[in-house]
Amino acid sequence: MASRAAAGARPGAKFAQFKLVLLEFAGVEICQGGKQSSEEEVTDQLDQDQFDDYRESTIGAAFLTQTISLDESTTVKFEIWDTAGQERYKSLAPMYYRNANCAVVVYDITQASSLDKAKSWVKELQRQANENIVIALAGNKLDLVTESPDKRAIQTADAEAYAREAGLLFFETSAKSATNVRELFTAIAKKLPLDQAGPRNLRTAPRPGVDLRPEAPGTQGAGVCNC
């Protein structure tokens, strides 16, 4: 587990840091960027009306950090690889999920084929990634279905059954209306072994002489993700 104690945490406060990989069916966005924001809760950032239906999927992958508070004394910081999971970049995927503590695999509830794609990602993660990885399955675009129910292509029950069988957390979310996004991240955080926080670093790349504090001066604002 790559959780580690953060420098400068309040005494008695728990701070854990985890690596999360967000694998999105190309074209589905759950993690929206666009604006600088401070470390706030997921929902706060998603509340901002930044979702653009026409926004194309991420080019390549984005590296973001996101901090959420589980309760008054526990803060969890996620280092997130947000990737669109495009096929042509498939060979890069192992780099993103290697040593990841948790993964969110996103599919589009209005597109039947997207669940199959998600299933194949789950399979790959279970086979290749960290054996204790916490995987969540997220059916996105709930807002579209709430508006016009006939757009739904994947029944909740079907996806849920699959998730149970494969041992995944399951949520139907809307990035647009922020429905269930906070719940999703909180559920993941609760499943992670917070107590094992320790100064460990599982990154493979050597980083000689370089301070990698995520909030090093000169980086963009403080927190970066707008999840």
Binding site: A26, G34, T58, I59, G60, A62, R88, T204, V210, G218
Partner: protein
């Protein structure tokens, strides 16, 4: 309409082709991209020494990685061989007002059409330079110019123009018989109307009830791009989706394949005021349709950029593989996610891009010591797997590190800048990005990995305040190792830390604030409204501020059209124009081409020609004085 003096009054120096080459390199290289291969860090020879594209100071450059020969822009040989056939075939296809052009064969972009068009009463899109036959006296004039250009110090420049002005009869346009030049009608086009060009056409209703309306909107666009596979599958179109315009894509495909069936290649044709340019690259047909008065070569350069973008997404071997396995492959899927890049490229062409027009890059103007300290910080923090490191401020290059053996290809950088600054994918992603990217000019066969992060120069940025793209500064680090993200991230942090310490961040911020100088800052009281200056050995350009004359997008577009026009005049095949003056209803423009630079100026339509010329030579002097600040030259970038 641009009104040009009649042939006999042309203020244009033409030089017989023979003899030119011994003195000067051809002003327009037949292979623009090869020119770009000149490493921009190659030393810029002091004017007067070496006039040719100078080889890199390290001696002969080691061979670059293999490049596809498809990159050579203009395969003219084949075209000219088949040119006659093309013309005949076109006549057969349509009785309408379609003129097929075979620019290279005819030696002029327009001549084929011009001859046909004039007789038909079409608006002649003819540049007089192509119709006029050089006269003896003109040959004499150009000879004197040529000799002057050999020493381009100020005194001689004055002499050059005095000579030029004295020998050229000054006639007011309008007294002689005039041909009408095409001109972008920005006078009566307001910004809103022009912005409509970039709006989505809209989606079809379920019952297709709005089809008529959408098609009408689609047709009203001044510019279209289409990419289709050789098998006829639409891959990407700038406006309208596949369902809406499939019949039109079908027509395009039919026209192209008609020629292919007879082992021919259709390169371009004109219908009314619309120009169609077709380029075939491997399994792809790229089509540009423009009503914006661009020349074939300019449109072809744009299509080339689209092709490079596709290669950049897929790499050449995988593109070839996809189509060799299944010629009917639908390329939409493999390209998924890169449509936004193609669209933003298209829009920057539609707005008009000096960088594309000149095939050159712009640098942020910085004092030499300041740039040096940024370079040093970049070198000092250099990670071992770094291939290229760039600092880019809103599309203007601030600093670059590159390996000794490799230069950077302007076409590649154009793609990178488009991805980083124009398309929303990267910037909107927030945080740091790690993007596999193939740089086709560098090596089209594999991916490199690009780390991008934006600098926060302003400290606290209001969350809701979008930083304009001109003001955003990106650090782009390119590595061949796909696992090196954290290494690049580390390099970025230490680099930024150093820049913070030595004050470079402030220097960059103030350079951005300062912006480009207005023409009146350079030459007080000048008649010039705007200029573009391309330094040929450096493959870089500089220009004056768009304000106050060209702040609106439609006026800027008109400015670019004036530049397009004059650029294509001086770069038309088989013309060796050194100085070109053109008066239209909205502007008078002036081009001056030497082996060292190309200078294009725009002033009021009734600007005095002598004043124009004097200002132009002052601008040239100014650029030469400021050269080391305006451009990144030779030793400024240390080699890894």
């Amino acid at each position: 309409m641009i009104q040009c003096p009649a042939p006999s009054d042309r203020v244009q120096k033409r030089t017989p082709i023979a003899g030119m080459t011994t003195l000067l390199p051809d002003p327009q290289s037949d292979e623009p991209l090869d020119e770009n291969l000149t490493p921009w860090s190659a030393s810029s020879p002091p004017h007067g020494e070496s006039r040719d594209r100078s080889p890199s100071p390290e001696g002969p450059r080691p061979p670059l990685p293999p490049r596809p020969n498809t990159l050579s822009l203009l395969n003219d040989e084949t075209a000219s061989r088949t040119a006659n056939l093309q013309c005949e075939a076109t006549t057969a296809v349509s009785r309408g007002e379609i003129g097929t052009q075979s620019p290279e064969a005819a030696g002029s972009v327009y001549s084929t059409l011009a001859v046909r068009g004039l007789s038909r009463g079409l608006k002649a899109r003819a540049s007089l330079s192509h119709l006029a036959s050089p006269r003896g006296s003109e040959a004499g004039d150009s000879a004197s110019i040529r000799s002057s250009i050999q020493n381009s110090d100020p005194g001689d420049v004055e002499a050059l123009f005095k000579d030029f002005v004295a020998t050229a009869p000054v006639d007011q346009p309008g007294t002689a018989s005039l041909l009408h030049f095409p001109e972008f009608p920005a006078d009566d086009v307001d910004d809103d109307e022009f912005m409509g060009e970039f709006e989505p056409v809209g989606e079809l209703d379920e019952d297709a009830g709005n089809e008529e309306l959408l098609l009408q909107r689609w047709k009203s666009r001044q510019k279209h791009y289409m990419i289709l596979s050789a098998a006829g599958k639409p891959i990407w179109t700038r406006h309208g989706d596949g369902g809406l315009i499939s019949t039109y894509v079908g027509v395009v495909q039919t026209i192209i394949s008609f020629y292919e069936d007879s082992n021919d290649h259709l390169r371009s044709f004109t219908a009314g005021d619309t120009k169609f340019v077709i380029m075939t690259r491997g399994p792809l047909h790229l089509v540009a349709i423009s009503r914006m008065m661009e020349s074939d070569d300019q449109l072809r350069l744009q299509l080339e950029a689209f092709y490079m973008q596709i290669l950049s997404t897929l790499t050449l071997p995988s593109l070839a593989h996809l189509f060799s396995v299944r010629p009917s492959t639908d390329l939409k899927r493999p390209l998924q996610g890169s449509e936004t890049l193609l669209s933003s490229l298209a829009d920057s062409f539609t707005r008009g891009s000096p960088s594309t027009l000149l095939s050159a890059l712009e640098c942020l103007k910085l004092r030499k010591v300041h740039r040096q300290s940024i370079n040093n910080a970049l070198l000092k923090s250099k990670a071992s797997s770094l291939l290229y490191g760039l600092v880019v401020a809103g599309g203007r290059l601030v600093s670059v590190v590159r390996p000794k053996k490799h230069s950077l290809h302007p076409g590649d950088l154009q793609l990178l800048f488009n991805m980083v600054f124009e398309a929303d994918g990267v910037k909107a992603g927030g945080g740091e990005s790690w993007i596999p990217v193939c740089l086709p000019g560098f090596n089209s066969s594999g991916y490199l990995y690009m780390y991008v992060s934006f600098l926060d120069l302003r400290g606290d940025i209001d969350e809701n305040e979008d930083i304009s793209k001109d003001e955003s500064v990106a650090i782009v680090l390119i590595s061949p190792d796909k696992e090196s993200f954290f290494e690049m991230q580390g390099m970025r942090h230490s680099f930024v830390e150093q820049m913070e310490k030595n004050g470079s961040l402030k220097v960059i911020a103030s350079a951005i604030d300062q912006g480009r100088p207005a023409t009146t800052d350079i030459v007080p009281g000048t008649v010039l409204h705007h200029f573009l200056y391309k330094s040929r050995p450096n493959v870089q350009f500089t220009m004056s501020s768009y304000s106050p004359e060209f702040t609106s997008i439609s006026r800027r577009r008109r400015l670019m059209s004036v530049y397009n026009n004059i650029h294509s005049s001086v770069h038309a095949k088989n013309t060796h124009v050194k100085v070109h003056h053109c008066v239209s209803r909205s502007a008078s423009s002036f081009a001056w081409v030497t082996p060292v630079f190309e200078l294009y100026c725009v002033a009021e339509p009734n600007a005095n020609r002598n004043a124009l010329v004097q200002s132009a030579s002052k601008v040239a002097q100014w650029v030469q004085q400021e050269e080391e600040r305006l451009f990144i030259i030779g030793g400024a970038v240390r080699i890894i």
